[in-house]
Amino acid sequence: MPAVPALETVDLRKTYANGVEALKGVSLRVEPGDFFALLGPNGAGKSTLIGILSSLVNPTSGDARAFGISIHRDRGAVMRQIGLVPQEINFNQFETPFDICVNVAGFYGIPRDVARPRAEKYLNELRIWDKAFQQTRMMSGGMKRRLMIARAMMNEPRLLILDEPTAGVDIEIRRSMWQFITGINRAGTTVILTTHYLEEAEQLCRNIAIIDHGNIVENTAMRTLLAKLDVETFILDVPAGFAGEALPEVPGVKLTRIDAQTLEAEMSKSHDLNSLFAALSGRGITVTSLRNKTNRLEELFVRLVEHGKPDQGRAAA
């Protein structure tokens, strides 16, 4: 007998008063314990879907069920299962993080004697306990983002929905946030994530749905999706002074100039590099080094802030 899904939407539709059809029959299933990515371009319908799941948007038709409970049948019971980290900051800037967390717990019916230690626990785990009794307007953007995660944990949800939780957050804090989220996912909480940082989704999520123009256009395992990706991009370092040279045309390769010393080559994974090098040599352009296009700066920064020096980071790892 298959497990009851953590989340199931059935033909969910939403048409706004201005006639915009944000969701055109979204059917989705997220298994319990999953770390699920919900991706899509701006305006694709992600936030509308999350709005319906968190009771902030009324669906036009269709149903959403959390752990088998329909949002139409028992909204309260569904909300007790869900924790929401919204995209926009949405807490009272004149209240303290501690009060915000304890009050939100109260809205879920959790008495203050239970809520207080719980607030301390999550504010500590998210490293903002030292700001617990300051007004939130005094906090940095990264702290506010972490507070929203702590707040979402106050009802200890079985399903945590994160809508671009790391937008505008620096890399160190982002990593500590993911450490926390992966920890609670390992402990059994189902996580649904929307993000524009695709490398985040790639690293963290096991399954993925891509939504576009209100429709699910892909819903599969992350591994399966990545296997479909056939394009690779290389960064080529060239000596200064080649700027005047015209770039060669290489069949199957999209070659672009980034700056006076850098080229970018996008090609199929099955395409060989020899023809590219031959074409560049033919124009007198020497390639001094080559690397895959990954965010090396991010890695370097993390090593610097976590371990002091770039070399030590690699050695420690």
């Binding site: 968190s54 009050n103 959790i110």
Partner: protein, 274 residues
Amino acid sequence: MNDVRAEAAVDVEAREFSVARANAVALYTITRREVKRMLRIWTQTLIPPAITMTLYFVIFGRLIGSRIGSMHGFSYMQYIVPGLVMMSVITNSYGNITSSFFGSKFGRYVEELLASPMPSWVVLSGYVAGAVLRGLLVGAIVLVIALFFTSLHIAHPLVTISTVLLGSTIFSLAGFINAMFAKKFDDIAIVPTFVLTPLTYLGGVFYSVNALGSPWREVSLGNPILYMVNAFRYGVLGISDVAVWITYAVMLAFAIALAAVALTLLHRGVGLRS
């Protein structure tokens, strides 16, 4: 079979009890948050009505009132005290809920409530309780200030308390509806400025409605604040321009109608959910 049914009934009962308990905690949380907010900004919530009412007592009660003489056997100062207390209660209850609820919409932290399992009636009751408590506190402050200017003997304590509770509840509910529809701060200032203040001044705070000739007396009877002021005046002084049972009937009708409208709007998410 009977055992299974009995077990199911116990489960349902336990769930209902836990939901009832959760709702009680949620109601307490909203009310506590509202009271804390009111006390945090006491210079905006408690001091202004105290200063305004002191000026009313000095100017209308002492300076002008001394030339007016007695009203229904009471000094003019004594006559206007109930109306001024009620005026403070009404305007502060209304102002508290509009600014607080609209503020939560504007700052988007109303989403904390909407995304929680709380039913609509708990949200409404919490905000109304907070506004009523501010109304009561301000009313008490104004009453204490009045005692510096005149002596008062509460004629009917139960009528006094029930009227102030009903009056503040009615205007809290009205304020909540105003805040639900409001899209900008101007929208929560329009009703107090253009509706509430004129109705309060024309509600018999400073005069007996019986002193008005026809048709102004009949027109005044369409003003709900008149009934609250007179019920409260009956509670404090034992005199009223309108039969007390009529004042209660009007207040209860308003309270029930406004509560029904507010709950329906909240349930539908008007101005809150898209």
